[in-house]
């Protein structure tokens, strides 16, 4: 498609893509409206977006391992934690190791730790069947968490690491960007002002960092997925013996995929440390691994776009119940009250019911898994059926990758 044509783009999408696009548009639109109307704190909105992106990053990592290659990794939280602790140990004020370094060193340490552990666990297990890696990673996650919890001299134990600076602390321009930005007060609905202040600009900077991490990871993984390298991984996932028979050193490919995925997870951890400014061993709880698995299953194993989508949906499920701790949700009530109260001399207070919706999270996650497995086992955005290096195929095939492929099975779409 040489011209961007919204209508053509829309009709080119299949139903799943249209559904996802609609869902995203409604969700983002709803949040923006709530934010502009003063019902949702913009800084918190950015924080939620940051969390979504962080889970999307971890999902991309797991997708490279499980989706591309079929490697079962139950250590997602551990690799995330290694990234976070790597960043924190180098930068936190109470770091027992070497606090106060530039965040870039922390990021590097986190990535190195993740790579070292990935190789260490990969060497004995990647020559074996996938189940062994699954068992080993299950153990690794617990070992790393327990070590971090108990090795107080090294990690500050359960106190966690505090005083982690923002990622751009020492950067020119960017370090002073939040202070340099003016405080803004937008009042669309009277009495419900939107205030953009220092914390907002700081969070905006965090989100920009996340977008860079996401963008780079997505670009690298997308290119890798549709390359001959990715094809070897997909062959290994389907049938490792066949890959070996055709001269592929499957052990080496599995190692590359495992390390690559773990690095992306550690990247998410590094980002988290500078987003949250505090890390503790609870960040390595196995529930994180569980959420990321759900995200990849929901998005569609092997699909990079699916992993992105799944990451955000999982955060919506995780954080969503906060908004319904009272009904109608506070942002909606605020907006409604604001609108009604525009009329002079009228003050209405909309009554609300207070709930404890927190436990709904796990219920919703369970429901999501059941619905996906029942109605869409391939995931919402499964990878397309044919992935050939784009330069090698004709222009017309590139523009319409579904030709001769999509109709064979419904819902097969791009990666």
């Amino acid at each position: 498609m040489s011209q961007v044509n919204a209508r053509e783009y829309w009709t080119d999408m299949n139903r799943a893509e249209q559904g996802v696009a609609t869902f995203m548009a409604v969700t983002i639109g709803g949040l923006l409206v709530a934010m502009l109307a003063g019902g949702l704190d913009p800084t918190y909105f950015l924080f939620l977006f940051g969390l979504g992106g962080m889970f999307a990053l971890m999902s991309l990592g797991l997708n490279a391992q499980w989706g591309f290659t079929g490697l079962i990794n139950f250590s997602v939280a551990a690799f995330f934690g290694l990234g976070a602790y790597g960043a924190a140990l180098m930068t936190a004020t109470n770091s027992p190791v070497a606090g106060g370094f530039d965040p870039i060193f922390g990021l590097v340490l986190g990535l190195v730790l993740a790579a070292v552990f990935a190789v260490a666990i990969g060497i004995p297990t990647l020559r074996l069947r996938a189940d062994y890696l699954a068992i080993a990673t299950l153990g690794l996650a617990e070992v790393i968490r327990t070590v971090i919890l108990n090795e107080r001299d090294l990690t500050a134990g359960s106190q966690g690491l505090r005083g982690i600076p923002g990622f751009f602390e020492n950067w020119p321009v960017l370090s002073t960007f939040p202070e340099a930005m003016p405080g803004l007060r937008i009042e669309i609905i009277p009495g419900q002002p939107v205030v953009l202040e220092l914390s907002f600009w700081e969070q905006l900077l965090n989100v920009s960092l996340l977008l860079v991490f996401l963008g780079v990871s997505f670009f690298v993984l997308r290119r890798a997925h549709r390359s001959p390298w990715g094809r070897v991984l997909r062959t290994i996932r389907s049938d490792e013996d066949l890959a070996k028979t055709l001269g592929k050193n499957t052990y080496w490919y599995k190692m590359q995929a495992f390390v690559l995925g773990s690095l992306v997870m550690a990247l998410a951890g590094g980002f988290f440390a500078h987003l949250n400014l505090f890390v503790d061993p609870s960040n390595l709880d196995p529930i994180t691994t569980f959420y990321v698995w759900v995200a990849v299953m929901l998005g569609g194993a092997g699909s990079n776009r699916g992993a992105l989508f799944g990451g955000f949906v999982v955060v919506a499920i995780r954080e969503g119940p906060r908004f319904i701790n009272e009904l109608p949700p506070a942002p909606v009530r605020n907006v409604l009250e604001g609108i009604v109260n525009v009329i002079p001399s009228v003050t209405v207070e909309i009554p609300s019911i207070v709930l404890d919706a927190g436990p709904l999270r796990l219920l919703l996650i369970g429901l999501t898994i059941i619905l996906v497995m029942r109605y869409r086992p391939q995931g919402v955005l499964p990878p397309q059926r044919e992935l050939i290096w784009p330069d090698a195929i004709e222009e017309d095939e590139k523009a319409r990758p579904e030709m001769g492929v999509r109709e064979a099975k419904t819902g097969e779409i791009d990666d």
């Binding site: 062959t235 028979t245 030709m403």
Partner: protein, 292 residues
């Protein structure tokens, strides 16, 4: 075909060595090492493999000469597939050696053996999920630049060129196999017979010196089986050596020469199809009497 070696003298002798074909035996001996070097693609020497008390491969010794279509037959449980697994590196032998183009490959990893020119197929065709036929074929060529993660980013042009070339090769070979109409079909949605053709075609993309086919026409309808035979002959004419296991006697007797007969893990005899047909021991092994 079979060659007595010093190592095998003290081993329990196979039927082939005990003189089922004395003329052929002495001829091989006289030709000497230099000739056999250039002519023998695969040499299996006194290979042994046991699973518990069962000797699945029992001092098997044979050679496959370059340019032949060598058949391998034997009753169920004779150890044919075990032998293939030993040769192609999926099992480690308990003893004996396997040599490919005069280099020893015993105990090497399957991918190493494949890189050195020996490609095999499996009894049950392997399905590649989430790929079209042409994409599943593109895994065939060896040492593709795009299989290096680094080159995807440092030399995308080289990767693109090689992908284009491979895609063209795939399309050409699919045409030669007369299955080009399947190119964009999901690789999991084609028939078992078509899958066997795809496997053979894909194996050819790896440009092997020798191709081991494990029951290429099992469960394949006669029309497709003929097509497969035709393709194997054509590829053989173009220089590929084949070693194939098959239970379909008509198929293998018409296609292969020589034929090696395995029984209880060792080579019972080998010779031309006629020689094998008329060998009573072969009939005994299969049926306990009668003719093959």
């Amino acid at each position: 075909m079979t060659e007595s070696t010093d190592e095998t003298v003290d081993q329990p002798t196979t039927a082939a060595e005990t003189g089922s074909k004395p003329e052929a035996q002495s001829e091989t001996d006289q030709r000497g090492a230099t000739l056999s070097k250039s002519n023998v693609v695969l040499r299996v020497d006194d290979l042994q493999k046991s699973f518990g008390a069962l000797a699945a491969t029992d001092h098997a010794t044979f050679e496959v000469e370059r340019g032949t279509i060598t058949g391998m037959i034997g009753p169920n449980g004779a150890g044919k597939s075990t032998l293939f697994n030993l040769i192609s590196g999926y099992y480690d032998p308990d003893g004996g050696t396997v040599s490919l183009n005069d280099g020893e490959i015993t105990g090497e990893e399957p991918y190493n053996i494949a890189e050195r020119g020996l490609i095999r197929t499996f009894q049950t065709p392997r399905k590649l999920e989430g790929m079209t036929v042409r994409e599943a074929m593109m895994i065939g060529p060896q040492n593709q630049p795009g299989e290096s993660f680094r080159k995807l980013f440092t030399s995308p042009g080289e990767v693109g060129d090689s992908e284009r070339q491979n895609l063209a090769d795939v399309e050409r070979i699919l045409e030669e196999f007369e299955i080009d109409h399947l190119a964009r079909q999901p690789a999991t949605d084609i028939s078992g017979g078509q899958m066997k053709l795809v496997e053979l075609a894909r194996a050819m993309l790896a440009e092997p010196d020798i191709l081991l086919l494990d029951e290429p026409v099992a469960g394949v309808n006669p029309t497709l089986a003929n097509k497969l035979a035709e393709q194997i002959r054509r590829l053989n004419d173009e220089g590929t050596t084949f070693l194939l296991i098959e239970h379909d006697m008509d198929f293998i007797m018409n296609l292969a020469d020589p034929i090696i007969v395995l029984n209880q893990g060792s080579v019972l005899t080998e010779g031309t199809p006629d020689e094998v047909r008329s060998d009573d021991r072969v009939a005994d092994a299969y049926l306990g009497g009668g003719s093959v």
